[in-house]
């Protein structure tokens, strides 16, 4: 799971360049103004690239926080 979180952090760094890395773990669409629907699409696309998976958007429905994204990725590609 640590590997997943490290890789996911790299995606966050690209999708939200203004965000302090210390905030990634608690970040969600609810508390991050720049995390809109287009940012979610970009984030999921970056996840697809970073983890080498075909992202099905439906599988990530509602995954709008760092933790929930990490959890969904682990479900698709355990340990990544």
């Amino acid at each position: 799971m640590d590997l997943i979180r490290d890789k996911l952090a790299r995606c966050f760094a690209l999708a939200f360049p203004q965000m302090d890395p210390s905030q990634y773990a608690t970040a969600s669409a609810a508390n991050t103004s720049e995390w809109d629907s287009m940012a979610q699409v970009t984030l999921l696309t970056l996840i697809g690239e970073e983890f080498g998976i075909d992202v099905n958007f439906e599988e990530f429905e509602g995954a709008t926080s760092f933790d929930s994204l990490a959890s969904r990725i682990n479900g698709i590609s355990p340990g990544a």
Partner: protein, 575 residues
């Protein structure tokens, strides 16, 4: 390029200069805007890139609104759904047979309106137009492997529209065949992304589109000269072993790839590219073989021919001197990796390309590379004259090897034409953006910056054409700036290296002083690594101290004192 890489590049720190580019489409630009920004950053390192997009679903409106904002360029991407929403995958309006006529009529009408809007935008900013890159949905009753008359009709409307658009000034059309090579049709559409986000492209397609769009919109300055090897390159075989009749370039001799290469060289020569030969060979054998009547390139198209047994880099050096151009404007083609390495070591700026004799696919790639390096928008009279003027320059040098004497210059029957009519600003623009040696400050301009220079209060811009008893050189110099009071301010001054040693630069300044009765000319000067000839010229009038600043002041009296006798007949179209 991956999206992550594009985001990294696009997010790198930037300098002060801003470049604004329109991305005009009817879909959500999303990753395409990111890739476009990244490729623009690579094209203009250090500059801040602002990609302006518009409203979703309103391509026409976006184009119209873009015309109100100044930018250095625009990319207009038209997909079928922009011509009729029913041709996209986000529409549920139905694919009934009776609607097809209506769709075609709608497409035709939309194309007419787009044509008008694109032409209006192109008057303000250079544009690259991209025709539909995604396939039509399977909306007719036919099996998909069979083309319907409806599709043919739509394509006919589109082609007609694109032909009209292409004729417009300032509009380039992206080549769909080039796009297909880097982005196969089957790997372009991302239906999931289209439906979820309104962005219809796969990442690979968006990447390919952005890269080609930037290359098309901001094409790199074309190279000026090509130096080629002979054996196993211009022809198959070793001249010294096989003899003049033993080398070949034909289907019959299984050496057609060399014929293709010769055809390419002949075509490049016609477009003004300088061609020379650097070959380790017996000069007499080479001379005889170049007279073979079946050669697909004319011997007159090649200058100089340097055949010797010395190092290739020495031959390249002599050719560069004869051409009087920098190595960064030159491509060297040879089949031998060793020769390429030897030349590259001495002239790192020369682009060295290997001729892959036994690799047909490699040959095709080489031919495409040559078109990329040497491709140009227009072919001008100056392109035709370039080789001739170099031969003349060599002749002049042989007659007067040191600085040309007044006696020699007086017998040239030189005629200079100063023309401010602006009938061909594109030639002036091209000359300013490619000249290095006699260039006042090395500044390069985008089309938008160029236009703004011409619109300044008191602005002037003259082209200078030259001819003498050896023949014409065409338009070889550009002088531009503005007049304020009794002073002229010059920030644009370039002259082609083909025109050196004829005192054209002196006559140009004399005309400038005379035309505006100026008490002094101020130059916005910047020394560069390459503009030594310009610096030498200015030092004739100005002390090292006076040359130290950015704005150099040349009083009329100082100029008159140091100006040599001039013998040109001046044709004055400087209004």
């Amino acid at each position: 390029m991956r999206l992550g890489e594009a985001l990294q590049i696009a997010g790198q720190p930037v300098g002060e200069r801003q470049r604004h580019v329109h991305l005009l489409c009817g879909f959500e630009p999303l990753h395409l805007a990111t890739f476009l920004k990244a490729y623009l950053r690579l094209r203009f390192p250090g500059d801040a890139i602002c990609v302006h997009t518009g409203l979703y679903g309103d391509l026409e409106g976006n184009i119209q609104r873009a015309a109100q904002k100044s930018a250095e360029g625009g990319v207009a991407l038209i997909e079928w759904s922009d011509l009729d929403q029913r041709l996209g995958f986000r529409s549920s309006a139905g694919w009934r047979a009776q609607t097809l006529d209506d769709i075609a009529a709608q497409v035709e009408e939309r194309c007419l309106r787009l044509e008008t809007h694109l032409a209006a935008l192109a008057r303000a900013t250079p544009l690259t137009v991209i025709a539909p890159t995604l396939p039509l949905p399977p909306l007719t009753h036919l099996p998909v492997f069979q083309t319907s008359t409806f599709e043919l009709r739509l394509n006919a409307i589109l082609i007609d529209f694109l032909q009209r658009v292409c004729q417009g000034k300032g509009i380039k059309l992206l080549n769909p065949a080039s796009l297909a090579m880097s982005s196969p049709a089957s790997a372009r559409h991302d239906l999931q992304m289209d439906l979820v986000a309104g962005f219809p492209y796969t990442l690979t397609h968006a990447d390919a589109l952005a890269e080609l769009a930037v290359n098309c919109l901001f094409a790199a300055a074309p190279k000026k000269g090509l130096i080629t090897d002979l054996d196993q390159t211009l022809w198959k075989g070793i001249l010294g072993d096989s003899g003049v009749e033993g080398v070949s370039w034909s289907l019959e001799d299984k050496s057609q790839v060399h014929a293709l290469y010769q055809q390419m060289l002949a075509s490049l020569a016609e477009s003004g590219v300088l061609l020379a030969i650097a070959s380790k060979n017996d000069p007499k054998l080479v001379e005889t073989s170049l007279q073979r009547r079946d050669l697909l390139i004319q011997p007159e198209q090649i200058f100089p021919v340097d055949a010797s047994w010395g190092a290739k880099s020495d031959a390249v050096g002599r050719i560069l001197k004869a051409w009087n151009i920098g190595p960064d404007s030159v491509v060297f083609v040879d089949d031998s990796p060793m020769e390429l390495a030897e030349v590259s070591e001495k002239y790192p700026a020369i682009e060295c390309l290997q001729f892959p004799s036994n690799d047909a696919a490699g040959i095709l790639a080489l031919l495409r590379q040559l078109r990329i390096r040497f491709g140009k928008e227009d072919i001008r009279e100056e392109d035709r004259l370039r080789l001739q003027s170099l031969r003349v320059a060599a002749q002049i040098e042989s007659e007067s090897p040191t600085e040309a004497s007044p006696d020699f210059l007086s017998r040239l029957e030189a005629e200079l034409t100063f023309d401010t009519s602006g009938t061909d600003h594109s030639r002036a623009f091209e000359l300013v953006n490619k000249t290095n040696q006699f260039n006042l400050n090395g500044a390069r301009y985008s089309e938008a910056e160029w236009k703004s220079r011409l619109d300044r209060p008191g602005a002037f811009l003259t082209t200078v054409s030259y001819k003498d008893r050896f023949g014409p050189l065409g338009r070889i110099a550009v002088l531009g700036g503005y007049v304020k009071g009794d002073r002229c301010f010059v920030d644009i001054w370039v002259m082609s290296c083909r025109a050196f040693s004829r005192h054209i630069e002196f006559q140009t300044l004399r005309q400038l002083f005379a035309k505006y009765g100026a008490s002094a000319v101020q130059f916005l000067f910047k020394p560069t690594e390459r503009n030594g000839p310009l610096q030498t010229f200015l030092r004739r009038f100005l002390s090292p101290d006076a040359m130290a600043g950015e704005v150099l002041d040349l009083p009329a009296a100082v100029f008159s004192e140091s100006c040599p006798p001039l013998f040109h007949e001046v044709i004055d179209r400087w209004t």
